[in-house]
């Protein structure tokens, strides 16, 4: 261990005296901190806008005046997915999924189906964010710092002098990996400290209740990724006969695992598990609502059965004899059936998404970038599962809102009466304001077991590689 420490110290001292390296690191750190600052400004503006819009929509809902509950159900309201502080680090799918949804009676807003329209290959690439810098550009920086780590020693002859001291190749390799990993930490640490400090603000709105933990986990994920890339790069340098070969090998690895495989994964997923077109998806839903699923009969037949059931249940012969407004019951039953149809179609659609995502997850075993990209989005709360969670909770809220309106109509108005009956703000107030709270980091990670396993295996593989070398050829 003493030798590893000595090697690492020497490497750090050697690098510390390279002005160009420090200039490069300074530029990268400066850009990332600047990105953090500007990202935070954007986050605050967006959060302010979302808060204002949410307040405005809530006020509009409460102050909509007296009206029939069904009209209120169509008047509807907007809910907004609050930005999380971590989304400034990794936008993930937020840009493509949107962050607001309009809630009204009969059907979920288009927002829910947006993935059908927009799930092309591009959505899996993300946009230029601090996360992308760490996922793709930091490895590139590591490659440029490390590709000569052994080849230069071999070319200048210092490697012979090192080995002649009785130092094992493993110790030299480990020492270099430790030193270069520490240099990488110089880039990572200030950024994540800044993010952690800023994340304190998140406790105010509690969208993510464990934002501090998520920031620490993000740091851990990127630290492991850094170690994997550093270890691999130094190992390639050890095994390469020249600096040129090492650089070519590493750039090829970077290109294949960081660009080609993610792109291929998206295209491969779409080919293997094609999604229905927006038109076909909608038509399927409308058809099943109109004609019924699994032999349930058409809408008219279902309504006729409902009417008969109610008349029989209350022992009356006409709807106006019922102790409640059958129109409210009919509307709610229609809602329930529509919900059932939507759920069935959505389940099929989401199963397809999951199949596509699984391909990406499996490719994490050959491309560490895939593992880190997915885990990063998960921790930032901007991944597909977080989006699903948000849409599911808004849909639950919408269904409760509509159910409340229909129940009020059924219980407080009479059959045949529509415009005559008006509910007031007491009813509007009974609908609590929508407030989104994301699931925990632990639950978020549970969706990415394959990625966690892949990253762990990558780390173990690098550690294993570091224990293999016993002798260097062509000294």
């Amino acid at each position: 261990m003493g030798t590893v420490f000595l090697m690492a110290s020497k490497e750090i001292k050697n690098m510390a005296r390279q002005r160009t390296l420090w200039t490069l690191l300074g530029v990268v750190i400066g850009l990332m901190l600047l990105g953090l600052y500007t990202g935070h400004q954007v986050y605050r503006q967006q959060k302010l806008m979302v808060d204002r819009a949410s307040d405005q929509k809530r006020t509009e809902w409460l102050e909509q005046g007296e009206k029939h509950p069904h009209i209120a159900a169509h008047y509807g309201t907007y809910v907004f997915k609050p930005k999380t502080i971590l989304s400034l680090f990794d936008h993930g799918l937020d840009t493509y999924t949107g962050t607001s949804v309009y809630l009204e009676a009969h059907y979920p807003h288009e927002f829910m189906f947006r993935p059908v329209q927009g799930y092309g290959g591009a959505i899996r690439f993300g946009e230029l964010t601090a996360a992308l810098v760490l996922q793709l550009l930091l490895p590139l920086l590591i490659i440029f710092i490390t590709f000569q780590s052994f080849t230069k020693e071999r070319e200048t002859g210092t490697l012979r002098l090192l080995i002649s001291q009785g130092v094992s190749v493993r110790s030299i390799l480990m020492g270099k990996v430790v030193a270069f990993t520490l240099v990488g930490f110089i880039v990572l640490t200030p950024f994540f400290i800044g993010l952690y400090l800023l994340s304190g603000e998140e406790s105010e709105n509690q969208v993510i209740t464990d934002v501090g933990l998520r920031t620490v986990l993000l740091f851990g994920i990127y630290a492991l990724y850094l170690f994997v890339f550093t270890g691999f790069s130094v190992w390639v340098s050890l095994k390469s006969s020249s600096a040129r070969n090492a650089l070519l090998t590493l750039l090829t690895f970077w290109m294949v695992t960081g660009v080609i495989i993610p792109k291929t994964a998206a295209n491969f997923g779409e080919t293997l598990y094609p999604l229905p077109s927006m038109k076909a998806f909608k038509e399927g839903i409308h058809s099943d609502i109109a004609n019924g699923m699994d032999g349930a009969g058409s809408r008219l037949e279902r309504e006729a059965r409902l009417k008969e059931d109610y008349l029989a249940h209350y022992g009356v012969t006409s709807l106006d004899q019922l102790p409640l407004n059958f129109e409210g019951v009919r509307m709610q039953e229609g809602e329930e059936y529509s919900n059932k149809v939507y759920d069935a179609h959505n389940d099929k659609l989401y199963a397809r998404f999951e199949e596509q995502n699984r391909i990406g997850s499996l490719l994490a075993f050959v491309a560490p970038y895939m593992a880190v990209r997915n885990l990063s989005m998960a921790m930032a709360g901007t991944d597909w599962y977080s989006f699903n969670d948000f849409t599911a909770k808004t849909e639950t809220y919408r269904r409760n809102l509509i159910r409340t309106m229909n129940r009020d109509m059924a219980e407080n108005s009479r059959y045949g009466e529509f415009f005559e009956y008006k509910a007031d703000e007491k009813l509007w107030e009974s609908i609590e304001d929508f407030r989104y709270v994301s699931f925990t980091a632990q639950r978020a990670l549970s969706f990415y077991r394959a990625e966690l396993l892949a990253l762990t295996l990558w780390v173990l593989w690098i550690l294993f590689l570091m224990t293999i070398p016993r002798k260097i050829k062509n000294l």
Partner: protein
């Protein structure tokens, strides 16, 4: 201290070293003379365990260098033709680092004094090595051997490219090491330096040790004649 027993190295059908047998005792400076490709550097590399023998054994202090690689390296110090150090570190820092790797715990003052004793000018001790001449780097190599208390010195063309003054200084340092009972095996083209510094000379050609002699028993002219005769044979 140093012993080669039927030491052979082949690369496919090419024999780089053929059944070498030699012994270098404490206080001996054994110079291997020969043209390029004679097997001198192969011999040094085999003792350093940089390459493994096809057959035969290379022993340092009685231990086989392939079986006891780490132990035998603790006893030796190696100075190649063009000793390269870490250019961003000073001579003293390089010495500290390599001593540390060799498990030698010497304080800075002692190491600085060793550098000075090895002929490095005081002004250069704390200067980065990228400002050093080749001769100055060789002196750091000698200081390292001294700091390690090396029992064996393996030198591969150490004076090649040095000016006469630097070569003389280097020879003097070798003679000091000789007095400290260090066994030295030096590969060289330099007949004059071999005769002047060595205790024994071996003439090699095409992987074979053709003849060995003690320098005290041969004049420079006779050595030159023998060498040329072997080379032209």
């Amino acid at each position: 201290m140093l012993e080669a027993i039927d030491l052979t190295k082949k690369y496919g059908g090419f024999t780089a070293l053929d059944s070498l047998n030699l012994t270098v005792d404490e206080g001996d400076i054994f110079c291997l003379l020969g043209a390029n490709g004679a097997g001198k550097s192969t011999t040094i590399n085999l003792f350093l365990n940089f390459i493994e023998p096809t057959s035969g054994r290379a022993l340092i202090n009685g231990l086989d260098v392939t079986e006891h690689a780490r132990k035998t390296k603790q006893w030796l110090s190696y100075i190649p033709e063009n000793l390269q150090l870490y250019k961003n570190l000073t001579g003293l820092e390089n010495l500290e680092f390599f001593c540390g790797l060799g498990g030698v715990g010497q304080d800075r003052d002692a190491l600085e004094s060793l550098l000075l004793k090895s002929g490095l000018q005081k002004d250069f001790v704390h200067q980065r090595v990228d400002r050093y001449s080749k001769g100055m780097r060789q002196k750091v190599g000698i200081a390292l051997a001294r700091a390690k208390g090396a029992k064996v010195l393996l030198l591969d063309e150490p004076t090649s490219g040095l000016d006469p003054k630097a070569s003389n200084e280097f020879s003097e340092l070798l003679l000091e090491m000789k007095d400290q009972k260090v066994a030295t095996l030096m590969a060289t083209h330099d007949l004059f330096r071999a005769k002047d510094t060595g205790t024994h000379i071996g003439i090699m050609k095409e992987g074979t040790l053709l003849e060995t002699m003690e320098t005290s028993e041969i004049s420079f002219n006779d050595l030159e004649s023998k060498y040329l005769r072997h080379m032209h044979a």
